[in-house]
């Protein structure tokens, strides 16, 4: 895994635990972790995570556009790795190396 993805995964792990609060588990979050089945995240938790992503990365990471291709059913099947890759690609597309943010 690229170094940039590594640091995004660390960021994302922190945000996921903040969103889950009391429901956070102590399991290690990897690229293969699923939001619904592994983390028990509800759709509103994913929305809340999207808000934090927007605050952290700005409009460069268009999370709403990303999830609009999913629906309420498939958003639950989303893996953490898919989001990490989306963020990394968005930041690269912006011309700014992801690791420098």
């Amino acid at each position: 895994m690229a170094a940039a993805q590594d640091s995004i995964l660390a960021d994302l792990t922190e945000m996921i635990n903040a969103v889950l609060g009391d429901f956070a588990t102590d399991q290690v979050i990897t690229m293969d972790t699923t939001f619904r089945d592994d983390l028990g995240m509800e759709s509103i938790d994913v929305v809340s995570l999207a808000g934090r992503l927007q605050a952290r990365y700005g409009d460069t990471v268009n999370f709403a556009h990303f999830v609009a291709k999913l629906d309420l059913e498939t958003v639950g099947e989303l893996r953490v790795g898919q989001l990490v890759e989306h963020i990394a690609n968005s930041l690269e597309g912006d011309g700014v190396p992801a690791g420098s943010r």
């Binding site: 619904r36 028990g40 995240m41 509800e42 759709s43 509103i44 994913v46 929305v47 809340s48 999207a50 808000g51 409009d59 268009n62 709403a64 556009h65 999830v67 609009a68 291709k69 999913l70 629906d71 309420l72 958003v75 639950g76």
Partner: protein
Amino acid sequence: MVRANGIELHVQRLDPAGPAPVGRTGPTPTAVLIHGMASDTMASWYFTMAEPLSRAGFPTVLYDLRGHGRSDRPATGYALDDFVDDLAALLVELDVTGPLLLLGNSFGGTIAFGYAARHPDRVAGIVAVESSPPTPEWMSRVRMRLERVAARLPREGALAEIGAARGRIAARRAADTGRMLADTTLAAELPASRLPARDAIAAIACPVLCLYGGDSAVGELAPAVRGLLPQTRVVVLPDQKHSVLIDRPDSVRRHVLAWLGEECGIEVAPPVTT
């Protein structure tokens, strides 16, 4: 989180990606998406209509109603007027001053009509999914439904049944709904709400789109809605239930975008295929 009407409301905003589509004249309304009562949150709109609306050029606002999702849960204050007050205060806090396109799911639609009855000049259009303006007939249905849920959830084994039938997350959501009904006066207060005068509802002049699921009893109210608001376009989606918004987001999207162009005179950008 935004503080409005004395409580913290969980708000998300999506701004349009590009400039307004060519050919659009006048200010573009801000789309405000209002979810339903008890087991619902802004997520139902977030994953269905929010992105298509922002892509069509509408600044888009979503929020969790008081008591729901990640907004505050005060013990009391769950009459229709409280929900309309929250919306009015939220728009002031967000500095949204122009015309509004209100979209409401189930009781969220009723809040949209309640807001429009008070501020008819602000509202450029209303989309109500499986909903009705605040009429006595509709409120008695809301009462029955809330009583049923409030009686079922605390029953021993109810959450386990829901978990077995619909999974762990559905059970967690049902548990939260049960806590809300136990910890707040919503189930008693909401059905007893003071309602706007019939004339105030009938004075809403903006275009209205009402979508119903063909298998849902809420559609029985459609003739009464047209009696009050003859401009209403009624669309019934066959074989669909009360959860039509999340079950058939593609159909809802198509009808809303067509209605915007045909009834509201708002050209929307052609859909981007990706």
